[in-house]
Amino acid sequence: MRGLQRLAEYCSRAEGRCRRMGRSIRTVLQVLALLFPTLLVLLPLLLLVTGSVAGNGELGRYLETVFYDGTDYITWKIVPDYPTFANYGKLLFMTPQFFVLFWNSVKMEVCILAGQMLVSVPAAWAFAAYQVRYGKALFTLYVVLMLLPFQVTMLSSYLVLDRLALLNTHGAVILPAVFSAFPVFLIYGGFRGIPPQLLEAARMDGAGEWKIFCSVGLPLGRSGLLSAFVLGFLEYWNMMEQPLSFLADQSLWPLSLYLPQITWSQAGYAFAASVITLIPAVFVFVWGQDYLEQGIVFSGLKE
């Protein structure tokens, strides 16, 4: 009798151990399944960085087959034999064109983001804080505008930019972006969590509408603002369609259009330029990751 009891006890313990082991194996498998695609994200980065510090001679050997159209495969080394920063040096100190385009990018980015903040923040506040007739219909219009791809608005933008004589100036890229509907929607997502009673209470205390906006809205809606900033930065740093369509003069182009112009014979140089283009984006990404996620969630909210 006692033996049987002990056997039962043993069995149940063994079963528990098995189940626990099964569970930990499943966890490991899950983590691996999650990490494999992660490799797909990191490998390209690794490729760029190693390519940019391999010397031109070495890179030439890796990519030999590309130049001669041969039948061998590309070769690569995770750590180059003779790492060098020569390509960075050449790019930063001997290529004035690179500098011009870099500053074009920075200039457009700063103007667009500043303009968007000035225009979109009050507009988002208006939609979030005040109930007006047709307010909902107007907001739906903004949502539709936000969802229209560039190609649909391209001709309209072209016509108005032509009329305002802005074509082939940075204004042609900056102004339409400033009035984009997307940041209004994101910032609205940050404002909509503020309870209306709070605004009512502020009004009771005699605060004017502007005062309420500045001292209640802005501090409480900060996350929406920063989300719009981070998502906007990444979007416009990567902007291609607008400058390609509206800027004929290549000296006005942003960095994002410069990279594709570099040919294979200057591969090391292209890798270095890629890495430098990547740095501001990575910086903003790391700094603003929480806001980026927040912004994505806001972009998914329905009004």
Partner: protein, 295 residues
């Protein structure tokens, strides 16, 4: 007394609304709405003389081979990409939502969002080149298993270019979609799941009957945002293959760009109106569907 208060409140709200929204409304009016009316007007006129041409522009567009090809490819791309993206990201988001330290994994998935297109295209060119990494890897795999010989397939200049674009789109947008899914999944109260488990539901049933129905609203926004982002694949397509790519990846975006460059504005106006109206209807329908479900 109360009624008058309401009236005062309404007037105050209206005034404040328009003061705050004025710059944005003016900008949208000047840069989008008024010129769009101009586009509608132009779509009924000839480009040179500006004479009224009826629907002849529309007729030209709908019999244009390039337009039909571009529409076909764009529709095909959307129909392949969006279900794939939705499924892949859900499959990753579900285990992620149960993981306690999901932060690092999540940021790794989000990273492609920060990677400028021009940068990543460099990498794809090397990977998918005739003698590139993918073929190198496949050849090694073939040698190892002894199943196939050397592979020299040119992905970028054949119909496989379509698959490369799909891959690139999934690569870029998975992180974004995972975050949206996670927000939806974590928004479902744990009690709901617990209650189902107590009632004896299996994990599979819990997912199908409790989790999934609660994610329908989430699905709507994901589909709509993925659709919006799918138009940006033009960047990759353009950088890999230029204005006139292999014909399987000739998209509406290429067509618009080429008409624009060639100043064929009458055709472009008609096509803009068609695509715009079509998208408007799709967005409204999706929104209507979502609203009726919520109630």
């Amino acid at each position: 007394m109360k009624k008058r208060n309401a009236g005062v409140k309404r007037r105050r709200d209206t005034r404040a609304f328009f003061l705050f929204a004025a710059p944005s409304l003016a900008g949208v009016l000047i840069f989008v709405l008024i010129p769009f009316l101009d586009v509608v007007g132009r779509s009924f006129r000839t480009v040179a003389a500006g004479r009224f041409a009826g629907i002849s522009n529309y007729r030209t567009v709908f019999t244009n081979q390039a337009f039909l090809l571009a529409v076909k490819n764009t529709v095909r791309f959307t129909l392949v990409c969006i279900p794939l993206l939705v499924a892949v990201s859900l499959l990753i988001a579900l285990p992620l939502s149960r993981l306690k330290s999901a932060g690092t994994v999540k940021s790794l998935y989000l990273f492609p969002l920060a990677m400028p297109t021009a940068t990543i295209v460099m990498v794809w060119k090397i990977v998918f080149y005739r003698q590139g990494f993918l073929n190198l890897f496949l050849t090694r795999l073939g040698a190892w298993t002894g199943l196939w010989g050397e592979i020299h397939y040119d992905y970028l200049n054949s119909s496989a270019a379509f698959a490369v674009l799909v891959f690139s789109y999934i690569w870029k947008n998975t992180g974004y979609t995972i975050v949206l899914w996670l927000a939806g999944i974590l928004g479902i109260p744990d009690e709901l799941r617990e209650a189902a488990r107590v009632d004896g539901a299996s994990e599979r049933q819990v997912f199908l009957r409790v989790v999934f129905p609660n994610l329908k609203g989430c699905l709507y926004t994901i589909v709509i945002l993925s659709f919006l982002n799918s138009f940006k694949i033009y960047r990759e397509a353009y950088l890999v293959a230029g204005s006139y790519p292999q014909q399987d990846i000739y998209l509406l975006q290429h067509l618009f760009n080429n008409w624009f460059v060639n100043l064929e504005l009458d055709k472009m106006a008609a096509a803009t109106v068609c695509v715009g109206v079509f998208l408007f209807i799709v967005i409204m329908l999706l929104q209507r569907m979502w609203d009726s479900r919520e109630e």
